[in-house]
Amino acid sequence: MVNIKINNTPLQVKEGTTIMQAAEDAGFRIPHLCYLPGINEIAACRVCVVEVKGVKRLVPSCDNMVAEGMEIFTNSPRVRDARRTNVQLILSQHDCLCATCIRSGNCSLQTIANDLGIVTDDYARVLEKNNWPQDFPLIRDASKCIKCMRCIQICDKVQNLHIWDVTKTGSRTTVGVSLNRDIKETGCSLCSQCVTHCPVGALHERDDRQKLLAMCGALSDPEKITVVQVAPAVRTAWGEQLGLTREEATPERLAAAIKALGFDYVFDTNFGADLTIMEEGSEFIERFTHRDRYAWPMFTSCCPGWVRYLKGQHPEMVDQLSTAKSPHQMQGTCTKTYFAQKMGIDPKKIFNISIMPCVAKKSEADIPSINDSGCEKDVDMVLTTRELVRMIRADHINVRNLQERPFDSPFGSGTGAAVIFGVTGGVMEAALRSAYFLLTGQNADPDAFQNVRGMGGWKEAEFKILGERVKIAVASGLGNTEKLIQALKRGEVSYDFVEIMACPGGCVGGGGQPIHDGEELASLRGDNLYFLDRKNSLRFSHENPEVQMAYREYYGKPLSERSHHELHTDHHAWKMPGER
């Protein structure tokens, strides 16, 4: 412990504590902008400076530790002046058209500028020119970038993809795509962790709402039947920026809100998730019982960020991916085939919209070879959780007062196994629950496989099914994934089945989810999904009555000829940049 004084208050603080943390703990909040604990502690914005008695220069509080006898002033006249000036300097290179900014109201720079009461421009505003392909799912607006470098650090340290880097030098130093590439030439996974960690509106998803809402858009076209599906992880995050508590933001209220936007059908991607388990679980059993025909381990394929990563970084392992489409793509195909047929609708009239916690899904839906319904696209549009929230706000829907309603049939029911698809380990747990049944004809305890749960970046487990050992691993975050793959390649580990999700914590922490600067909410949101699993009366994918009906009426059985054509895909039929 060291004895210090902050703003004349004597304190005892643990050695190794940053000045910022010590001040925060003592109730003196120091504003900061670039700081991201553990990831970006580079003291670049100089907003968090404080005055330390006896030291001539001001000291950034984020990367300096307390020391015995230190006397710290967080709001001295010099500090006030410096903080204000540095924020004004940042603003001089920031496009301050807040009214039309995607992050207005959720922007750390805006908050700090407002908090500091900066109402005048003391410096000439010079903005960096913007040159970015606006059709790419990930958009960077150079005129908003404040060069905090968080995107670079997230991509380097957490995701191991090194897409971003510092480019140019001197006064023109900025953030750009590494190695002077165009973003479309890179192996960007589109995980969009850079987006969710951007403090301002410099990074965001391609906002596709207007294509839907405009007068010529599908929602305005009386001929079109608009069909929405909602991914598991969306239901645990959608209410965060609509003023709802987690108790209020139920899946049923979400269904009601989407219905209120005017869509014809609101389906639950949980149906697609249960369908995925039937296909992927059966595929695993097929591979497992014909071990010598396949390379090992088998990888899950439901995360398009991960699929992009594997294809871009380790193309020689692509055959190890399950051929099963991701749940929303399965459901997209299913809607335009089975559902259209069942309802007697022309599938070309259906407009499928997936609400996803994810930006990579936008590119997945654009893969030409993923379409099997005979229509131009199986999933016509992917919107992120954030875009959905914007639509609800635009229509001023009073979500709190909405009458809860179930998702529409026939894709309205999902099991507890499906809902945990949204969290790391969930796909694996769901698959094991059904694989156990498919192999033994009996259900295991639904919580028998729960040691794959938790926010660990790389988890391992081993289960015995019919005397056979099944070794599995679960990783989330591409940096953890790379470590796992390297260990596999070096022969240090071996598994039968591996689940990968590109975003840390899984889809709950997805790049399309609501943004809370400085907070990582994956764990909390994941707990909510496990709660929904627990309280569901059905906890096994093979017990989903609508999935059973779909097999009865249309697909026959898992891995049937028809499901092979419509629910599986060829991962070699399209290429990532640089993939041969």
């Binding site: 530790m65 040159n131 140019k168 030098t169």
Partner: protein, 613 residues
């Protein structure tokens, strides 16, 4: 009314003079990797501020050039802008009335030619080719990328042994380098922006002097692989050290009687005492290196051939150095009394002697080796030693402090004289060196070249001539065994592999030509890493030394503490080390000057520290 006045400097002018000095030092500390177009633009702005304003091309043209360069940088230019920049600059160079405008325009023209790619990248793609890859100046300029801010911080805390351990992560010759490294690390030290570069070598010297013997880390479990190292100099021994730590068994084949290569045979003991060099060598050998001394690789009687070695080992590292003395091709060179520097230093190193007592000696050359033989000749009791050099003293490639030391010890630097022939008597004894006086002439390739003075040649009477104009590499055997040789050196990739021979790697002087110890050490480190990969392993070299966190401190300007030398009268007669240790107070003050670029500025963001390699 006074007809004349004495001008005194105004306060403003005095301040500007100070700022010029600040800027000079700042340019010295310019980090590597900046955008050349941006720098050219910045220089141009300074040039324009210097214009007197009389002539059109300089007053107006430089401003227009500046604007066009800004257009290039801002992405507002097309390829025709480059043509316009060139045309304008050419006209300014042609028509400016004085050097202020003409030389500024020449700088721009030089840039358009020298980094046209950078111009085009900005124009065509709005991007910049420059990138700051390694932002800590000292670390990036050290060929072995030693963690300099790390060990300076450890020295400051008096953690001497930890400093040595940290240095050894990247360089197993901390003692030798503390004494003789040419310290490229100091060239762009950011401290120049405040006062002067840190005495980095001096801090290393403090660490090794104070630490005493520091045990080496434990080797990784044995891999069963065997690697032959041909040549036991700094490069070969560095490779051997790291390969041993990685668990491979190395055998060093050394043709001399003693290990150390040029550190032993090329550097006189007054600069690098043998016992001090042995501190490094013994530490390296303590990892279990096998050594075959007096063992020449070749196809002669009793020699081992490279083919044989390749068949017996899993990999081979060739680090034979550059050990043959070059001669100048002067008439009379082949007589008694003429000796190459390599031969002389080698003889002395092996305990032999060269009889120069009371002789008049001429040394030909201007590099560090020339200074080494000069100072050795003085210690051997020569009556006079004259260093004959074609250019000016300032143009010598030897470190300035070496030249100064030689002069202080009594050598005469005969600048601007080219050797013509060696005069002999009937018994082929040297009687003199005929020289041709030169004047300094036009700048060629960035250096002023000597030119004819039109003065007659004359003879400097002398009894011995030492030729120190460079070293060559003994490549014949390797060439006949299929190792590619190009321009007298072994051809190896930048990752040390010899492309036409699987499992053969090469590095150090035999690849680069005669260079510095630290470059040879770096080559050995690179080779060790790539040999490890080649053998199918991914060992990493790291050290568990915790580096002190930077302290919050102000950085007032301070003078640089230099290493002092023993008094001339005392040192010129013996072979003991010439340098004196720094005092504790000096060490503390000097190490405290480090700006910790590993943390402050870019270092904390990227590339500040490599924990392992």
């Amino acid at each position: 009314m006074s007809r004349l006045t004495i001008k005194t400097q105004s306060a403003a002018q005095a301040t500007v003079e100070e700022l010029y000095k600040d800027l000079e030092r700042r340019i010295v500390a310019s980090p590597p990797g900046l955008c050349p177009v941006d720098m050219a633009s910045a220089f141009l702005k300074l040039c324009h501020a210097q214009t007197c304003g009389k002539c059109v091309p300089c007053r107006v043209g430089l401003g227009q050039l500046s604007a066009m360069l800004e257009d290039v940088l801002d992405g507002n230019a097309t390829l025709t802008t480059i043509d316009r920049i060139e045309r304008t600059a050419r006209v300014i160079a042609d028509t400016a009335d004085c050097a202020i405008g003409a030389s500024a325009a020449d700088m721009v023209l030089k840039g358009v030619k020298g980094f046209r790619d950078d111009y085009e990248e900005h124009i065509l793609h709005g991007k910049c080719l420059a990138a700051i890859n390694q932002p800590v100046p000292c670390m990036s300029l050290c060929p072995a990328h030693v963690d300099i801010p790390g060990y300076i911080a450890l020295v400051h805390e008096g953690r001497w042994a930890d400093a040595v351990r940290l240095i050894r992560k990247d360089n197993p010759f901390p003692v030798a380098c503390a004494l003789v490294c040419e310290h490229p690390c100091e060239a762009r030290c950011r401290r120049n922006m405040i006062d002067a570069s840190l005495n980095i070598r001096g801090m290393k010297l403090a660490a090794v002097d104070k630490a005493g013997p520091v045990p080496v880390p434990e080797n990784a479990p044995s891999t069963g692989k065997r690697v032959a190292i041909i040549g036991g100099g700094p490069s070969g021994l560095s490779a051997a050290y790291y390969l041993q730590l990685m668990g491979h068994q190395t055998t060093v084949y050394e043709m001399h009687k003693h290990l150390g290569g040029m550190l032993y045979y090329g550097i006189p003991s007054y600069r690098l005492p043998r016992a001090r060099l042995d501190e490094d060598i013994n530490a390296i050998l303590s990892t279990g290196v096998e050594v075959r001394l007096d063992c020449k690789i070749g196809d002669g009687e009793g020699m081992t051939s490279i083919a044989q070695i390749r068949s017996e080992y899993d990999a081979v590292y060739i680090s034979i150095g550059a050990h043959t003395g070059k001669y100048a091709g002067l008439p009379g060179e082949d007589v008694r009394g003429v000796i190459s520097a390599v031969e002389m230093l080698g003889t002395l190193a092996d305990g032999g002697t060269v009889d120069l007592k009371d002789k008049r000696v001429c040394v030909i050359g201007g590099g560090n080796v020339a200074m080494d033989v000069t100072r050795s000749a003085i210690r051997l009791g020569a009556k006079t030693v004259k260093v004959i050099y074609r250019r000016r003293r300032d143009d010598m490639t030897a470190l300035q402090e070496e030249v100064d030391a030689a002069a202080a010890e009594g050598a005469e630097i005969v600048e601007l004289h080219a050797p013509v022939r060696i005069e002999t008597d009937a018994e082929e004894n040297v009687t003199g060196l005929t020289v041709s006086p030169k004047i300094i002439g036009a700048v060629k390739g960035g250096r002023p070249a000597p030119a004819d003075s039109d003065e007659p040649d004359y003879t400097i009477p002398c009894d011995a001539v030492i030729i120190a104009i460079g070293q060559g590499i003994e490549t014949r055997h390797f060439e006949s065994e299929g190792i590619p040789i190009k321009r007298g050196v072994i051809e190896a990739a930048d990752w040390s592999a010899v492309s036409s021979a699987m499992g053969v790697f090469a590095g150090g002087d035999c690849v680069t030509g005669p260079a510095t110890a630290i470059r040879a050490i770096a080559a050995g480190k690179v080779a060790a890493a790539n040999i490890d990969e080649y053998l199918g392993f991914h060992h990493s070299i790291s050290v568990d030394v915790e580096i002190p966190a930077p302290r919050i401190k102000d950085d007032p300007a301070y003078g640089r503490v230099n290493v002092k030398e023993r008094p001339v009268d005392e040192r010129r007669t013996d072979w003991e080390a010439v340098e004196c240790p720094l005092t504790d107070k000096e060490i503390c003050q000097e190490s405290g000057r480090c700006l910790r670029c590993d943390h402050f500025g870019y270092g904390v963001f990227k590339g500040g520290r490599e924990l392992k390699w």
